[in-house]
């Protein structure tokens, strides 16, 4: 048997995926669910100062002039809806709280649902038979800087993959199982068999160790065991009973390094990895976060923007009308626009249009007014997918504090066909329905 290198392996697989067993499950995975979106992308940044974000003038829902900080969004008006004026479950929750994507955050009553919407959606998709090679892809350099947090939670705060090279390898470096068609390559089969035996052996060792430790360590070993099960699912997605096949050989042209010394440069690579992960069917739920809730080191000398967004721009910016924050938010808006346009220019790997047609892109933040540290007016920008009700001039909705921001998160769930929200957000939310205003 010859030793197989990765390139050969992947080339071999490309031929093998042409014909797949379990075609009906594959078809189900390909078809857009009733919601109108198949994929979700979260674009996550710190909160802002409301006065610089709110449109300068609003004559109607579809007739508004964008503020400077969001002016780049003019280029994607026909794709997008801006929302604000929606409090979280606990508006005083402050830094590092999970409200942004979980709806409720902490609660004085003690029971807090800490699952963020990306995790909830991924779990529900999987339960519904849509299993991807990567359940959720959370990306972003230095997102726990200064003891800070990401917006993603599942009991504990979930880190993002910080290094673009690590992200690239995690998503595109692994070997997928071959499908049916054609004679199996013996070297390929051998490698696959070796991997499976190895994972069985490791699993056995983990289970043995697990019997001899306390419950806290058991919980961590369980995470490890689940992480291995995910690999096994990727090695044989069809054996798992339905799944979305990642396209072999896809994404190999990406260039990535371990360098995270410049967060914004690293995140640019992450954005490419993110869009490729969708185009290659590696995942249906992906997110990118810019810095932690505490710190984002901005190094844009060409814009005269150098410093930590939080300290420099949010808390020291009032004196000159937040000019630095406006400039940086404008830069972020442009990145959001780039993302939407990239998705628009990329074909849906399942056919039937562009990735943007089947992807709901959401710009979400951890706080509403980040300078005042409250979550009284959470704001979003929704874009893309057939789910979203759009207008050629764009739409701006201000709920004036009358609707909880969790309802916007429920809309994200509804977009991908989830209508049972039990286990997410505030169990006591009076109107636990998505925002009808968002739905086409």
């Amino acid at each position: 048997m010859r030793t197989l290198n990765r390139r050969t392996w992947l080339k071999t697989l490309a031929a093998g995926t042409a014909m797949l067993p379990f075609l009906d499950i594959e078809q189900a995975a390909q078809a857009a669910p009733a919601g109108g979106a198949k994929r979700v992308v979260l674009f996550c940044t710190m909160g802002t100062v409301p006065s610089i974000w709110t449109p300068k003038s609003v004559r109607a829902e579809n007739d508004f002039v964008l503020a400077d900080s969001t002016s780049p969004l003019d280029a994607i008006r026909k794709h997008m809806v801006m929302l604000e004026g929606m409090p979280s479950g606990n508006t005083g929750d402050n830094h590092g709280s999970p409200d942004g994507l979980s709806g409720l955050g902490f609660s004085a009553s003690g029971q807090a649902q800490l699952v963020s919407v990306d995790q909830f959606i991924s779990d529900r998709l999987k339960a519904g038979g849509i299993k991807t090679a990567v359940p959720t892809l959370l990306l972003g350099a230095e997102t726990t800087g200064g003891g800070g947090k990401t917006m993603f939670n599942r009991a504990n705060n979930l880190p993002t993959i910080s290094s673009p090279l690590a992200a690239f390898k995690a998503v595109f470096g692994n070997v997928k199982a071959g499908g049916g068609g054609g004679a199996p390559d013996p070297a390929t089969e051998q490698l696959l068999a070796r991997r499976k035996s190895t994972l069985d052996a490791i699993t056995g060792q983990l289970q043995t160790l697990r019997q001899n430790v306390g419950s806290e360590a058991k919980a961590r070993l369980d995470l490890h065991l689940e992480s291995i099960r995910q690999i096994e699912g990727r090695l044989s997605p069809s054996e798992g009973g339905g799944g979305v096949e990642q396209i072999a050989g896809c994404g190999q042209d990406l260039k990535a390094t371990d360098d995270v010394s410049d967060v914004l440069k690293a995140n640019a690579v992450h954005m490419d990895i993110l869009t490729s992960s969708l185009a290659c069917n590696a995942t249906r739920v992906a997110a990118i976060q810019f810095g932690s809730d505490q710190i984002l080191q901005v190094n844009l000398p060409e814009l005269n923007l150098q410093g930590d967004e939080h300290g420099l721009m949010l808390h020291s910016g009032a004196g000159d009308g937040f000019s630095k924050l406006i400039a940086f938010e404008k830069w972020l808006s442009q990145r959001f626009v780039d993302l939407v346009k990239k998705l628009e220019a990329t074909p849906d790997p399942d056919g039937g249009g562009s990735l943007l047609d089947s992807t709901l892109v959401v710009w979400a933040r951890d706080m509403g007014d980040a300078a005042a540290h409250n979550q009284e007016s959470m704001r979003f920008v929704f874009a893309g997918s057939k789910y979203l009700k759009k207008d050629a001039n764009g739409r701006y909705l201000n709920f004036s504090g009358k609707q909880r921001h969790e309802r916007a998160l429920l809309s994200i769930c509804e977009a991908v066909g989830i209508t049972d929200f039990k286990g997410f957000g505030d169990p006591g939310l009076a109107d636990k329905t998505p925002l009808s205003e968002l739905k086409a």
């Binding site: 030793t3 402050n94 590092g96 800087g145 009991a155 306390g214 995470l223 505490q294 150098q306 020291s316």
Partner: protein, 595 residues
């Protein structure tokens, strides 16, 4: 305002603003003790993250006053059983029965994992990329409850293990196996010998069989060795350090191999070397004086020096020096200059701790430092021209620059904003990391915007709002007045006599429960920290070192451990080496309690 503490303020959740403000004021002042008192933790009442502990989840309803030490049971519905990560040092649990605390299972940190693999093959150039996405907890990346393999983690580990195994078989077969014949003897020998090094303990027969099965599925020795090496590098016996022990009396005694592992990772950040491994194999490590001897030996090594440097960096928040964005319009801080500052501090720590066997007070009062020409020019030293690219010991003229740790360019630059000095960051570091007094985050709905620093105001004036607004003052009075003592140094560590056209006022004070201690500049602050607050600072150091050593911010009766470290270190003048090694003599290092 600068970097903020990440405490969560449960008292404010769902509570009206006015009440919340009052609650905060009470909470702030009630919680923070003076510098002369014992350090306290600021567990947050009622908040799930702060209240629950132990098994169950972060959504439990425990009522402890810290993380991990209460007795709440998790009743959350979406929890995965993992424990919430602490955001502040919990209140220590009182020492009643000299309990050594619970057993532990600790995943290797990212640095430990890399170092272990490099040492396995004796090659610093093993092709490794980052495979862990670990959160920072309490400023460190060592928390055993936060270091997990989850999500894509196992995938990343597998990919890395396979590529390292392939590299090893192709280029370092000699490190893997002394024989390469594909027969039972050679296979056994390879599995047992290499496996012993990877597992850090002799393999059980069961584990040998597991690896044998993997080996025999391959056609050649090389393929078999590659398959087994990849498997071993993914094994939990490699990835996790065990502190489980064997039953002894009413609790557990750590095995000699577990002791060797604990000693090696604590003092070198990597796996046991040959000498330590032999000591584990022959049981000599079970003798306390042997443990101490190896501790001393390892601490003195190059790796030991690096460990102390890493601890200091994380304890004092110096890591930010590498990444903090600076305003090129004010001064272009080059990567070389950042590195020079880091090197200055590394040399100072090395010299003070290892050559002079000094204490933390020795670092604070160090009379000289180490600069090269570039750094000396940056500092504006008049003898800069006579220096070279080499670092050399220099004693500063008092008029040119203060001496001691607090005046290190690395610290002053890291604890500053892009363009300005930051009394808040500098004061907060002293308050929370040297005095171990915790601070809650700013309350919501306070206008946190600072007045612009234009019109020729000094930094002190710029931050005046912090003391004028009572909502801000309750916490900021614990930080800013300390930070003002640093005002002779700008955001790039340069000494200044003028700040925006006014003479620098570097008078400061440290607010306690019953007193406010004034001081003048860094010499005054240093004097305070090394005399009046000396015991407090040393206790705080011991607390953070214990956290670093055991990977847990608190456990049942953890005060026993802190007391033991302090008591031992005291007899040795609280030298840093004594503090470091004292951990090895605590009951927790060798024993654990029944669960």
């Amino acid at each position: 305002m600068g970097v903020r503490n990440t405490d969560k303020l449960a008292a404010l959740s769902g509570v009206k603003l006015a009440a919340a403000s009052a609650a905060l004021l009470l909470a702030c002042t009630a919680r923070i003790e003076g510098p002369d008192s014992r350090p306290i933790g600021v567990g947050i009442d009622g908040k799930p993250n702060g209240g629950s502990s132990g098994p169950g989840s972060g959504t439990g309803t425990g009522t402890g006053t810290g993380t991990g030490t209460g007795t709440g049971t998790g009743t959350g519905t979406e929890g995965d059983g993992t424990v919430p990560h602490p955001t502040t040092l919990p209140t220590p649990s009182a020492c009643k029965n000299n309990s050594p605390g619970p057993r532990a299972l600790r995943r290797l940190t990212a640095l430990e994992y890399n170092a272990s693999i490099r040492d396995l093959f004796g090659d610093p150039n093993v092709p490794l990329t980052s495979v862990f996405s670990d959160p920072t907890v309490l400023g460190f990346s060592v928390d055993s409850q936060a270091l997990v393999v989850q999500g894509l983690g196992a995938q990343q580990l597998m990919d890395q293990a396979e590529s390292v195994a392939h590299w090893a078989v192709t280029t370092h077969m000699d490190k893997l196996s002394s024989c390469t014949t594909n027969d039972a003897n050679c296979r056994q020998s390879f599995i047992r010998n290499f496996g012993r090094r990877v597992h850090r303990a002799p393999l059980s027969d069961a584990d040998v069989s597991v690896y044998e099965r993997l080996f025999s599925a391959e056609a050649s020795f090389n393929d078999g060795a590659e398959a087994v090496t990849a498997a071993m590098l993914q094994s939990p016996y490699f990835l996790y350090r065990q502190e489980l022990g064997t039953a002894a009396g009413s609790g557990y005694q750590l095995t000699s191999h577990e002791l060797a592992t604990a000693l090696a990772y604590l003092f070198t950040g990597s796996a046991p070397d040959n000498e330590l491994s032999s000591a584990a194999d022959n049981g000599s490590l079970n003798q306390p004086q042997e443990l101490q001897r190896h501790a001393e030996r390892l601490l003195q090594s190059q790796a030991g020096h690096r460990v102390i440097g890493t601890f200091m960096k994380d304890w004092l928040g110096l890591g930010k020096l590498e990444t903090v964005a600076k305003d090129d319009n004010v001064f272009k801080l080059t990567p070389e200059l950042r590195q020079a500052m880091a090197e200055e501090t590394r040399l100072l720590i090395d010299s003070t701790v290892f050559e002079k066997n000094g204490s933390f007070a020795s670092l604070l009062t160090a009379p000289s430092s180490f600069v090269n020409q570039q750094l000396a020019s940056h500092y504006g030293l008049k003898n800069a021209g006579s220096l070279s690219a080499q670092f050399t010991s220099v004693t500063f003229e008092p008029s040119e620059r203060d001496s001691g740790l607090l005046a290190q360019g690395s610290l002053l630059t890291a604890l500053a904003t892009a363009a300005e000095s930051s009394p808040v960051q500098r004061g907060k570091m002293v308050r929370t990391r040297l005095l171990c007094n915790e601070l809650p985050p700013p309350p919501p709905n306070v206008d946190t915007s600072l007045k612009p620093a234009n019109g020729g105001v000094t930094t002190r004036e710029h931050f005046a709002a912090h003391s004028q607004n009572p909502l801000c003052a309750s916490c900021h009075q614990r930080m800013d007045p300390i930070g003002f003592g640093f005002e002779h140094y700008d955001a790039f560590g340069r000494r200044r006599e003028q700040d925006n056209g006014h003479p620098v006022d570097a008078s400061g004070s440290v607010l306690g429960d019953a007193s406010e201690v004034p001081f003048e500049g860094l010499p005054g602050l240093t004097e305070y920290l090394t005399t009046q607050a000396n015991d407090t600072v040393n206790a705080c150091l011991a607390r953070y070192w214990a956290y670093y050593a055991f990977g847990q911010a608190g456990w049942t009766e953890d005060q026993c451990t802190y007391d033991s470290i302090i008591e031992q270190a005291k007899t040795d003048g609280f030298t840093l080496k004594a503090v470091a090694k004292a951990v090895v003599n605590t009951p927790r290092f060798t024993r654990r309690a029944a669960e």
